[in-house]
């Protein structure tokens, strides 16, 4: 587990501002799409 955390930590530290903006944009757009759109899929019956 520790190597994974270390790797993740070093990756996060090495991110450029542009990459951080990309991550923020993608997360925000994904949540926006989930929250703002209301498409109903046929996969929902029964929960």
């Amino acid at each position: 587990m520790t190597p994974i955390i270390n790797r993740l930590s070093s990756t996060l530290v090495s991110l450029t501002p542009n990459q951080i903006r990309l991550i923020l944009l993608l997360i925000s757009l994904a949540l926006f799409l989930l929250g703002a759109g209301a498409p109903e899929s046929s996969g929902n019956p029964g929960g």
Partner: protein, 206 residues
């Protein structure tokens, strides 16, 4: 899934466009991105998290949906200068309008439900009730305000994924695609905004 496809396609298309034109993709600085997270929490509890969505009463689900979408509208407004966000805001406004005028949930007609899931058990949905504990409520067309803005559009029957969606959903998908497509455009407002905020940062554009 249909909305997420727009996101992935936009990211792919925008990155390819930037590469073809020889520019580094440049992403806009969002204002108040935390607002989206706050807006999504009530919807997550009311519609996505299995234990809570099963016990969530309709009045609370509709309150969660309307309240959450109002917060998202604020987010779209504060970021309206970013390319594509005016379409995101317009689509959300249309969805919010029809939801608010029909009791707080997105209306869908019984005819659309039957086309959407012809094999669904007859007792799995009822007119006047929430559809499958989701964001939709089954309402006859004659009882629906602004029916044209409701979930009445369907993908072609030959398409493997069946989904009902609204005109607002189309605008939202287009807005997300456009926002990501424009990262490859050197003349876009995204680029100008990023330049203003980043200045001489050496990591810019990597």
């Amino acid at each position: 899934m249909i909305l997420m496809s727009a996101l992935l396609l936009g990211l792919l298309a925008g990155s390819c466009r930037a590469k073809v034109r020889g520019y580094h993709p440049i992403y806009p600085d969002l204002s108040w991105p935390w607002l989206v997270g706050i807006a999504f929490i009530p919807q997550f509890l009311a519609f996505h998290l299995e234990p809570s969505r099963e016990i969530c009463p309709d009045w609370l689900a509709s309150g969660a949906l309307v309240g959450s979408q109002i917060i998202l509208l604020v987010f779209a407004w504060v970021n309206r200068k970013i390319t594509g966000f005016h379409l995101l805001g317009a689509g959300l406004s249309l969805n919010l309008l029809v939801i608010a005028l029909n009791g707080g949930l997105m209306p869908i007609s019984p005819e659309t439900v039957m086309k959407l899931a012809p094999g669904a058990p007859a007792h799995s949905w009822q007119t006047g009730q929430r559809l499958w504990a989701g964001k939709d409520i089954v309402l006859p067309v004659v009882n629906t305000h602004f029916w044209v803005l409701s979930d009445h559009l369907l993908l072609p029957s030959w398409f493997p994924y069946h989904v009902a969606f609204s005109i607002g959903d189309i605008l939202i998908a287009l807005g997300a695609f456009w926002a990501l497509w424009m990262v490859g455009n050197p003349a876009s407002s995204n680029l100008k905004m990023a330049r203003q905020t980043v200045g001489n940062n050496p990591g810019y554009g990597d």
